[in-house]
């Protein structure tokens, strides 16, 4: 496939660096978060121990409360950069329901082609969705960490016990995204090169 004329620049260096920092931070946050959840589960299940990080509650909390700064800072830098350069708007908007449905139908029948640097409507929806989930997980996390000092935030999320569930649901949304995201990387491996090196080596090798 020849790159289409509408292909836009690969992700900026800032986006790529924050992407990989977040990849590590989110993995550690989920692994330790599952261990913390297991200490006092509010659904009828716990996470298998081998999928969790920290070894025990104290270790998991130490990881969680260390990595939260990394996740929050990296996400903030990504968002500020994306908003200031307009990259966020250019790449992720617009999201039109009709286009989402059409691209979803194509994707599910394996007829949706991948263009490096240009997101289809389903991708745009998913990336905006996961950004909202990350913002949600950070905000609800802050409310759980400081339910007295940030009482107003806790109230906004329905109180302490409700906030725990909001935090869990945001995590679940991120995990759901990761399942799809990683599956797509497996299907289209060259996207990994673009995210690592900022360009695909495919065109050079062809020409």
């Amino acid at each position: 496939m020849v790159p289409s004329a509408t292909e836009i620049a690969p992700p900026a260096l800032v986006s790529r660096i924050t992407h990989w920092i977040n990849a590590v931070a989110i993995t550690l946050m989920i692994g330790s978060g599952w261990r913390i959840y297991n200490a006092s589960p509010f659904f009828a299940f716990t996470f298998p121990s081998f999928l969790t990080l920290g070894g025990w509650l104290g270790g998991a909390l130490a990881i969680h409360f260390a990595m939260m700064w990394v996740l929050a800072a990296s996400t903030m830098i990504y968002l500020l950069h994306g908003l200031l350069t307009g990259g966020l708007r250019r790449r992720l908007l617009p999201i039109r329901p009709a286009e989402v449905l059409q691209d979803l139908r194509l994707a599910l029948t394996f007829r949706l082609r991948h263009d490096n640097g240009r997101y289809n409507a389903v991708q745009r929806l998913m990336y905006v969705g996961v950004l909202c989930a990350i913002i949600g997980v950070v905000v609800s996390g802050l409310a759980l960490w400081k339910p007295v000092q940030l009482h107003w935030l806790s109230l906004l999320l329905g109180g302490y016990e409700s906030t725990r569930r909001v935090h869990f649901l945001c995590m679940a949304a991120i995990v759901l995204f990761l399942v799809v995201h990683l599956s797509l990387v497996v299907i289209v491996p060259r996207t990994l090169l673009v995210m690592l090196f900022g360009r695909s080596f495919r065109t050079e090798s062809v020409s």
Binding site: L53, G55, G58, A62, A66, V148, H151
Partner: protein, 244 residues
């Protein structure tokens, strides 16, 4: 059930030092780059981050911000028993012979009987106890406002910490700013009754601005100090400030 979690956690800790082994090999290699053997670097990083979090939390702590209060109808029934041992192993303290020992940077080190403490002005609060495990429960505690007690013993409130020792050998230390918070209570009663054995008789420090493990029960001695003698769970790696 709660005691079960704490005990099993303790068993696991006994096989480890502090946070050693707290990350899987994969995560260790992510953090340290290459060295899979040496997870001391991970422990040190996590420990340093925990001390950084102490400082951030001390800065975020607002001496005037009150923990939300609730109505009697919202009190959790039954209020959970919680310790690192089973309820039948909770210490039994004889009310008649009990004396609260006071030491450190205070003017008066005279021990206090329960009658003395009950004679001081009493206050009530209905607040949410939040456990480090995540669960929470609303309870009603009454007793002496702790800042009032500190004033009565002539405590040097410029000191950094108040340290507690308990009948079950539990220990914990809190910062002076939290000790002086208007809702920090030397609780002598739960609901309408004398603080039951399960909830910490003869007294519990009720600190609604900190996690449950920073609310020592079965208190037998307290000390005003500039040197933190360390706390039971804090030594295993729970965050020291643990403010809410």
């Amino acid at each position: 059930m709660k005691a079960e979690t704490h005990r099993s956690a303790l068993r696991r800790i006994e096989r480890r030092l502090f946070l050693r082994g707290s990350l899987s090999l994969g995560a260790v290699s992510l953090l340290t780059g290459c060295n899979l053997e040496d997870d001391d670097a991970v422990d040190k990083t996590l420990f340093a981050m925990s001390r950084w979090n102490d400082r951030v939390q001390a800065a975020l702590f607002n001496a005037e911000r009150l923990a939300p209060t609730y109505t009697r109808a919202e009190v959790t029934k039954p209020f959970p028993f919680n310790a690192y041992y089973q309820e039948d192993q909770a210490p039994v303290v004889d009310a008649a012979t009990f004396r609260l020992q006071v030491s450190g940077l205070v003017r008066e080190t005279r021990p206090w009987t329960l009658a003395d403490l009950n004679a001081l002005p009493q206050e009530s609060q209905i607040t949410r106890h939040i456990c480090i495990e995540g669960w929470s429960a609303i309870g009603e505690w009454s007793g002496v406002r702790f800042s009032h007690f500190l004033q009565r013993i002539g405590a040097d409130t410029r000191a950094r910490y108040v340290a507690f020792r308990c009948a079950d050998n539990y220990t914990s230390t809190i910062d002076m700013a939290t000790a002086l918070h208007p809702q920090t209570l030397l609780a002598l009663r739960f609901g309408d009754e004398t603080l039951p054995r399960a909830y910490g008789f003869p007294m519990k420090l009720r600190v609604p601005t900190k996690l449950g493990f920073k609310n020592p029960k079965y208190i037998v001695a307290l000390s005003v100090t500039n040197v933190d003698p360390g706390g039971f769970w804090e030594r295993f790696g729970y965050n020291w400030f643990s403010g809410l």
